[in-house]
Amino acid sequence: SQKIEQNSEALNIQEGKTATLTCNYTNYSPAYLQWYRQDPGRGPVFLLLIRENEKEKRKERLKVTFDTTLKQSLFHITASQPADSATYLCALVGNNAGNMLTFGGGTRLMVKP
C-alpha cells in the first residue's frame, strides 16, 4: 500500500542552525511533491513545489530536494528562526487523476532562541 513517512518525533534545533526534515514514500510515483507549513489551529499553507524531473528547488531560506530513486525529499530551512517553529507536511500529487494531495503525518519543528 502507499505510504508517506515523516519523522513523527519533534525536531528541536537552535536558532541560526539549518533544520532538515525528511519525507520518504513507498508504492508511489508522484508527479509533484509539495511542502506545507501548518500552525496550531490553522490550515496548511503552501511553501514549495518540486516536480519529478527536478532535483532541487530554492525559495529564500528554504530548499527542497527530490530523489525519485531513493523515493525521498529533504526540506531545509537555513538560518532558522523561532518564527519557523511549526509542523511541516509533505504532500504528493499524481498517483491518481486529479490534483488531490496525499499527505505525510508531518514533523513538528521547534527552533529555540
Binding site: 508527479a31 516536480r51 490534483n99
Partner: protein, 115 residues
Amino acid sequence: GAGVSQTPSNKVTEKGKYVELRCDPISGHTALYWYRQSLGQGPEFLIYFQGTGAADDSGLPNDRFFAVRPEGSVSTLKIQRTERGDSAVYLCASSLTELWGDEQFFGPGTRLTVL
C-alpha cells in the same frame, strides 16, 4: 483578499445526529477539496470537485458522508448518523484549476466533536 472560509469553526454534536459543514472557496477557484485531519496526523483526502461535479469521492469513508457544490462555489459536507470516530478537523481547500501541482489554499478548518 479573502481566503477560504469555513463555518462553523467548532461543532459539537451527539452521536447519531446529522451535521453540515460549509466551505466558501476563493472566488474564481474551480477546484475544491475536502480533507479530514485527526490529531497528530496529516490531512486525509475525502472528495474533490471540479465545478459543480464531484470528480473524485474515493476518500469518503462510507455512505454516511456526502458533499455537494450546487453552483460551483460554496460546498457543504454532510455527515449523517455521526459516530465518535468522525471527530476530527475537517479542512477545505481550493485551487484555481484542477491541474496537477496547482497550489491549494486551505481554510482554517471546522473542528467536529461527536460526544
